[in-house]
């Protein structure tokens, strides 16, 4: 781990009377996997939305790799190397999985060339190779609107990875994934991200996943970070157990 990659200071945002962010301070270190846990409505997605330019905070600062990104459009932030995946997979539903991936690959370079085919060999190969890493080769030619939730989630993340981000923000990457497949999928995902040296922040409800894959855990509560530390430390903290994990005593199969 070397240096701070994403730095948020004093982020504030309220919707009506609800404080979705009430002074968020967080440094994401280069190379780490940081898990965000906390009850629904604590402002976890809001943090991702603010970090990627989709929502504008009412106060505070965000910088990425030492550069201020507050106020930039999602487009500009993506180009700086901050990728994201979505709680509700954002796929192009009239396209096949391969075409979705190829569009993401093409968007890194030369999207705006009207005469180059999307499935030119170079882009097609890179897209296929990407799908292979994610284990999606078998459904490469399936239309995105015909996939099951787990496959949609993976394809969604694959599209974000295709952009070769330095930092990837994932909003509930395992929600909707069948419990039996979950660990295998996360294992695969972690391998892909480690190989590509991507720093990752992920919102997660499954404490087993958090315990196994996170380097650090941040606990969100009512728009604030209630605790931050190693999984061992956080997951055994009695307050955290009561406030966050307590509502999920069912173990690893908690609802999203």
């Amino acid at each position: 781990m070397s240096g701070v990659l994403l730095s948020a200071k004093g982020l504030r945002l309220a919707f009506g009377g609800v404080k979705a962010a009430d002074g968020i301070d967080l440094d994401v270190m280069e190379g780490e996997f940081l898990a965000i846990i906390g009850p629904n409505g604590a402002g976890k997605t809001t943090f991702i939305n603010m970090s990627t330019g989709y929502l504008k905070p009412q106060g505070g600062e965000i910088s990425f790799a030492g550069e201020r990104i507050l106020g930039l459009s999602p487009r500009a932030i993506v180009r700086k190397g901050v990728g994201r995946s979505f709680q509700l997979p954002q796929l192009f539903t009239e396209h096949t999985v391969l075409e979705n991936a190829a569009l993401a690959v093409a968007s890194r370079e030369g999207f705006f060339s009207a005469l180059t085919p999307l499935l030119r060999p170079r882009w097609r190969e890179e897209a296929m190779e990407l799908l292979e890493r994610f284990g999606l080769t078998g459904i490469a030619h399936t239309r995105a609107d015909a996939l099951n939730e787990g496959a949609r989630k993976l394809a969604d993340i694959a599209m974000a990875v295709a952009l070769k981000p330095r930092l990837l923000l994932m909003d509930e990457p395992t929600s909707g994934v069948a419990a039996s497949e979950k660990m295998a999928i996360v294992e695969r995902l972690a391998t892909v991200l480690r190989d590509a040296r991507v720093t990752a922040v992920f919102v997660e409800h499954d404490m087993e996943v958090v315990g196994r894959f996170a380097d650090r855990v941040a606990v969100w509560s009512q728009g604030r970070i209630a605790a931050l530390g190693t999984p061992d430390h956080i997951l055994n903290d009695p307050d955290v157990r009561r406030e966050v994990i307590g509502i999920e005593t069912g173990g690893s199969h908690a609802a999203a």
Binding site: S73, F111, F112
Partner: protein
Amino acid sequence: MIAKHEAVLAALLVAAVLAAAAVSPWLIFILTIATAKGIAVLGILLLLRAGQVSFGHALFVAFSAYTVAFLAPVLNDVALLLPLGALAAMALGLVVGAFVVRYREIFFGMLNLALSMVFYSLLEKLYTITHGTDGIRVSLPRFFGMALERHAYEWAVLVTALVLAVACAVFARIYLASPMGQGLSAIKTREARLEFMGVSARLVLLSAYVISALMAGMAGAIIAMTSRHVTPHLGYWTASGELVFIAILGGAGGVIGPFLGAIAFELVRVYAAASFADAWQLILGTTLLLVIMFARGGLWGLVLKLTGRRA
């Protein structure tokens, strides 16, 4: 597969048009207009790919046609008038497009309609410049430096229109296969994702809009040089509605649809419009309703069905 299929059909269609024109010369006029409209409809089709419909593209047809009419007295050659008219429409498309691509669906469609109606009103009211509803006559232009007699000139314009039509259809095919073209359908299904890929959805749509304006401009120039009389009616909402009508009738599937649709449309119109002058829009509207509700694929879908392929 489909591409090859399409190429054969396109060749057949061009051959059929030429044969029909040779057998009955009075068809030359109708077929030229139909080919021109087909080119404009191809542009509408690009926008439909993005889930957007313009109810005002006659604006670009009329703008180009009037550009031709104004320039004809000084630059009386098809080789100059055609590109200048088309480029003028393209430039206007860039300006209007920069504004309307900020909007989707309802606003996109209606803003296009509103702007085209403003231009129509100006054509009608600024009598000193446009001669109002009387319109402007265009004298017989030269064709690449040659002064042709009328019949030869009409053939020359028809062939020019066909060449442009094929070129535009080929271009549309290539464009639609590119990331920009595929990005159009991405705008329809998940525009936010495009932005999170670092791609400007507005630029993607603007590219299609400018191309569609250019295509409408080509159509306008050909129409002006064929009918050799431009009137504000070229830019009226009914003219825009016709383009949308043909696009739906021709089917949103392939690049041949617009031309099949345009030819069918113009032929029917010649026979029907005279007898049903005041009910023409009623007939079009009813057909449009029926096609939308019962035959989504349009004519092209029918062709695919008859040749055993799925739309």
